[in-house]
């Protein structure tokens, strides 16, 4: 008797061509499974399916791409040709485009199944894409026949070790047979929020496997279909490493004496204060302590690199040379519209790729205003700061507060503790006729600190922390107030 072969289960995976989507799927597409990709016209199903097919080709696999739409393949490939993943030389070599429309009309479902079997065998394909499943839905008269077709496809997937992608629009109910019969159901969609449209991917079903639930931001660009897993689902989950006793110098004359010798390694410090008080300059000082072994990153949404370097030059902070030689990197983003997850992954990506040890984020207010989902921001930022800590990064997060001279610096977060271990506030104070500056250490992780308010100045050489702040008597009643200032 011939020895029995091992039972084969679809436990191994195929890459989707996008690391973000693979992560949402907990490792990629289930091999030899039937995967429904559902989405309205324009949602990106065809781009995603083609990206998967060409990715499969790069890994040595072959795909039969069967369209059930009365659409020209020339138009389809012309559009795909604009995308980075497309390889013209792979068309008809590893990715075979076929139309099943005529067979469906003339021979029905049985004819399509036979066509599939024949073409998979003829091309040695291990992936099948059926684009336009709704055309077949409209052709079969009963749900039972459609259900049987899906079931038969599953048989073909098993017998021929073939992964099947079914592309369909989003019109049918979740109780329809295609959703219950398939091994996986992935939705691609677009959400309108105010004036913006945001693409997303959501996995509703993945038989026999965990997956990251909920919606995940997606983008279609010249690179194809990119998924950014929701930050709160992929970061902030692992326990943080034990707190290091190490300190990083702030680069500010006089400040380290107040904070136990420097900023705690791997900690997050919130630097809060009104506009123009010196928060960015604090960040520039901190970055000036970067080195080749401990590079720095300014992740900004205010001033771009030229303006920041001009500021640093003006104060005599030697940052320009460090930017030129790559010790410090400036990643600027316009303070307009961004997808939270895309920015978050970009930040963590930069931190990991460059081994960033000193990070300045300027500012988290500007970051928050770019998102269509400000309600997520607190949880999102807590996950990010946790991830930064895991990656050995020490962070300064700039937070602009309303009001200029008020001691009541209203912070628009319900839980500052989840964002940062340390809190240093900067503010203005009237000192006679002068608008003076003062800073106070409010909180410091596991470390004694000088709790007194100290004055500071900004001039050549940057910030200098001075003596304990002692206002002149005339300063108790500011001659003017601004919105956000409350009576002291």
């Amino acid at each position: 008797m011939d020895p029995a072969g091992p039972a084969r289960f679809p436990s191994d995976r195929l890459g989707s061509g996008d690391p973000g989507l693979d992560r949402v799927l907990s490792g990629g597409l289930l091999r030899s499974s039937v995967i429904l990709v559902q989405g309205a016209p324009g949602a990106g199903k065809t781009v995603l399916a083609n990206q998967i097919a060409f990715g499969h080709a790069r890994n040595g696999g072959k795909t039969v791409y069967l369209t059930l739409l009365a659409e020209s393949h020339a138009r389809l490939t012309a559009y795909m040709g604009q995308l980075d993943f497309f390889r013209a030389d792979e068309v008809s070599r590893s990715v075979h485009y076929l139309s099943g429309y005529s067979v469906l009309v003339d021979e029905g479902v049985k004819g399509i199944l036979r066509l599939i079997g024949r073409e998979l065998k003829a091309h040695g394909a291990s992936m099948l894409v059926i684009d336009g499943l709704f055309t077949l839905e409209e052709t079969v008269e009963e749900d039972t026949a459609f259900r049987k077709f899906i079931s038969d496809l599953g048989m073909y997937a098993e017998l021929m070790d073939c992964t099947v992608l079914l592309l369909t629009n989003g019109k049918r109910l979740p109780t329809s047979p295609e959703f219950t019969m398939v091994d996986a159901w992935v939705e691609v969609g677009r959400l309108s929020v105010d004036y913006r449209t945001q693409r997303y991917v959501e996995v509703h079903k993945l038989r026999g496997s965990a997956f990251l639930s909920g919606r995940h931001t997606a983008r279609i660009s010249e690179h194809g279909f990119t998924v950014y897993p929701r930050i709160e689902t992929v970061m902030g989950q692992s326990p943080a490493p034990a707190c290091s006793a190490g300190r990083l110098d702030s680069g500010i004359d006089g400040l380290d004496d107040l904070i136990g010798g420097g900023i705690g390694e791997r900690s997050s410090t919130l630097i809060s204060g009104p506009t123009g008080v010196g928060k960015t300059t604090v960040g520039l000082h901190f970055l000036s302590g970067a080195s080749k072994d401990a590079p720095g990153l300014l992740f900004g949404l205010h001033e771009d690199a030229p303006r920041l370097l001009s500021k640093a030059d003006a104060f005599g902070i030697g940052l320009r040379r460090m930017v030129d030689d790559g010790t410090v990197h400036v990643a600027w983003h316009p303070p307009t519209e961004h997808a939270l997850d895309e920015l978050g992954h970009r930040l963590i990506g930069l931190v990991r790729e460059r081994g960033i040890r000193r990070l300045v984020v300027d500012s988290i207010n500007a970051w928050r205003q770019t998102t269509a989902h400000p309600d997520r921001f607190g949880r999102y930022l807590a996950a990010l700061t946790h991830e930064l800590r895991l990656n050995g990064c020490t962070s300064l997060l700039m937070l602009e507060t309303p009001g200029l001279v008020s001691v009541n610096q209203k912070m628009d977060f319900t839980s500052v503790s989840s964002l940062a271990e340390n809190l240093i506030t900067l503010r203005y104070a009237m000192n006679g006729p002068t608008l003076a500056r003062a800073l106070a250490v409010v909180k410091l992780r596991d470390q004694p600190f000088d709790p007194r308010v100290h004055s500071f100045t900004i001039g050549h050489g940057g910030i200098r922390v001075g003596a304990v702040y002692s206002p002149q008597p005339a300063s108790t009643a500011p001659p003017w107030t601004s919105e956000g200032d409350e009576p002291e």
């Binding site: 011939d2 199944l113 040695g124 291990s126 599953g154 048989m155 073909y156 070790d161």
Partner: protein, 124 residues
């Protein structure tokens, strides 16, 4: 699945109660150049064997009416049929040892068609 070399055409009796699996096997084995006779259980299989010359039997284990192990015993007991190679194809994890010893090959479902095609070439 890689494109296979053209194989000598064989007549295969498939005893299988699951219609989707049976239909897929009929189509795919036909594409390989083989002729498939389908029976939904052991009784129907024996009827087909009485009327047709078959080169190979592929049988499921659990079937209504007459099961796969009963079919195997009946085939091995019949002098006209006993030399036909039999492949047991089943999801059952522990088939009866006596049945296993009476068949020529055992494929645990789900299996790749290539394995069965190889067995057809080897056993016929």
């Amino acid at each position: 699945m890689s494109p296979s070399e053209p194989a000598a055409s064989r007549t295969i009796l498939l005893a299988e109660d699951e219609p989707g699996f049976a239909e897929a096997m009929v189509v795919l084995l036909d594409l390989e150049g083989h002729h498939v006779l389908h029976a939904v259980n052991g009784h129907a299989a024996l009827e087909l064997l009485a009327l047709n010359r078959c080169d190979l039997i592929v049988t499921d284990y659990s079937m209504p009416g007459m099961s796969g192990d009963q079919l195997v015993r009946a085939v091995r007991a019949d002098p006209a049929l006993r030399n036909i190679p039999i492949v047991l194809a089943t999801a059952v994890q522990s088939p009866d040892p006596a049945t296993l010893s009476a068949v020529d090959a055992y494929l645990r479902k789900p299996f790749m068609l290539d394995r069965l095609i190889g067995l057809i070439a080897k056993l016929t």
